[in-house]
Every structure is written in C-alpha cells, then in structure tokens.
C-alpha cells in the first residue's frame, strides 16, 4: 500500500536520494537503442565531440533520474501519472564511472479542479554528480491521490 499521498509533499521541501554508478556498457546500450549518435557510442568519437569523452545521451540521464525517483519515493506513493515536464536542461555530460543522485524540491502543490480526489505536485529535480555538480535538471509534474479527498478543497 502507498504511504505517501498528495498531502505529504510540502512546498519548499528538499530531499536527496539515490547513488547510481553509470557504466560505459549501459551508456552504449542505451545509445544503440535510442540515441545512436557517435559521441554516445564510441570513445574516440566522444573525445572528438563537444562532450570531451564518451558520454550518456541526455535522454538516458532523464531515464536514470526517473529510476532514482521511483526508488527514492515514487514507488512508495499513490502516484497517478504525469502530464509532462516543463524544461529539461542538460548542463554537463555524464561519463562512465559517475555516481549520480537526485535532489528534489517541491516547487508547487495544488489540488486538481477537475479531479477532486487528486492533487498535482511540481518538482524541480536535479541530477547530481558526487562532486555536487548539477549534470541536468528538470521540472516534472506528478499527480497523486489525496489521502482524504473530502477533507479540504482548494
């Protein structure tokens, strides 16, 4: 059973979770499937590119952020899907050996007007390297069930 509901996400709250080590094999595997640009497939092409070395597809870094977010809290929450993302910034390349975590901030929390048993939470998610540098960031909206739908109306 879910233990986190809409009411549990408080505006301004910041949490950090996860420790995920990226491998060269998975960078190449993701790129072969979904983003076969040379700098994501081959060390020499990566070195010659603007990335400076073989580096993960930006979409791969989004997928890793989602994996860490599922494990960090979403699988323990009454999530009801997502309408989308406003803004993804790929700020630094992610290389083999990088250990990634996620810092999440609750930007906004509001009940749904059309679905009174749900609320929308807007998160700023930052993908952090072990140095503390921000490799990428995104603003993601997730719908959650309300714990007590009748208790308070927006």
């Amino acid at each position: 059973m879910a233990s986190l509901f809409f009411e549990d996400f408080i505006e301004g709250e910041v949490k950090t979770y996860g420790a995920y080590k990226v491998t060269e094999a998975e960078i190449i595997d993701f790129a072969r499937q979904f983003d076969p640009q040379p700098m994501h497939l081959d060390a020499a092409a990566g070195a010659a590119s603007m990335l400076g070395a073989l580096a993960a597809s930006g979409w791969h870094t989004c997928a890793i952020m989602q994996k860490l977010t599922c494990e960090g809290f979403l699988l323990n929450a009454a999530g009801r899907g997502s309408p989308g993302v406003s803004e993804v910034k790929w700020k630094m390349p992610v290389f083999p050996g990088d250990v990634l975590s996620v810092r999440r901030k609750v930007l906004e929390s509001r009940t749904s007007k059309t679905k009174p048993d749900m609320g929308l939470v807007t998160f700023r998610l930052e993908l952090l390297k072990s140095t503390g540098e921000v490799a990428s960031e995104e603003t993601l909206v997730i719908l959650f069930a309300r714990r007590n739908p009748g208790a308070r109306l927006a």
Copy 2:
C-alpha cells in the same frame, strides 16, 4: 560526412518520418530498467490505472522519439548536441502494437552569439500514432555546425 547543416533547417518547415511498432516486451523492459511503476510493468495494473492498459513510460516515448529523430535526419546532420528541452507533454498513453512516427516543425533558427561556427534550431516534435493522434510532444533545441561560418553573421 554530414549533409545537413544549420542552414538547411528553415523556420516553418514541417516533415514527418519513421514508422516504429511498439512491443509489450520493450515497454516492460524499459520500465524494469528505468520506470518500474506497476502500470508500465503489468497488464492488470495497467488496466486498473489511469492509462487503461499496460502502457509505455513517458520517458520511453521520449527515447523512441529520439531514435526516430536520429534515423529521420539527425545522423545525417552536423549535430553538435543539445542544451535541453522546453516542455514535454505526455498527452495519450502508448500501447503495445502502436505504430509511431514523428512530425517535426522548425520553430526557430538562429546563429549562436558565443559560437559563431554554430547555430541553434528549435524543433517542435510530435509523436504520432497511426491514427494521426498526438501521443506526446516536445520542444527540443539542437546545435548544428554552420556550412559556411563566415558567410553570414546574425
């Protein structure tokens, strides 16, 4: 050698490319790796969810859009990476058996002020079902090398 450069992307231009059939096995495989929420892993959980049936992770649909975009033109272009995406909307679930294509529109094209040998192109990409319905859309910026960097300055 690349045959498409910055100058080849004309504002307002619309092109459609790709025909990619989604399988149940790959939906589950992606979800296991990156988005293990029940509605992306299991038919019964999908049927009980807001998606109505087992359906692909939104991030999986972004990855498929990138694959189609690579094959559609990006691997044939002098791409120099992407700073990110402004807005991803997941509008309809993507189910096993859906055949997807991409409609791309060039929203904006401008030379870079800091990198005079490059230009930035903003694309609106729509992931289409075979019915013509838009499953998802995103606004993606890609950097391209200029064919003749000295020929005209913005």
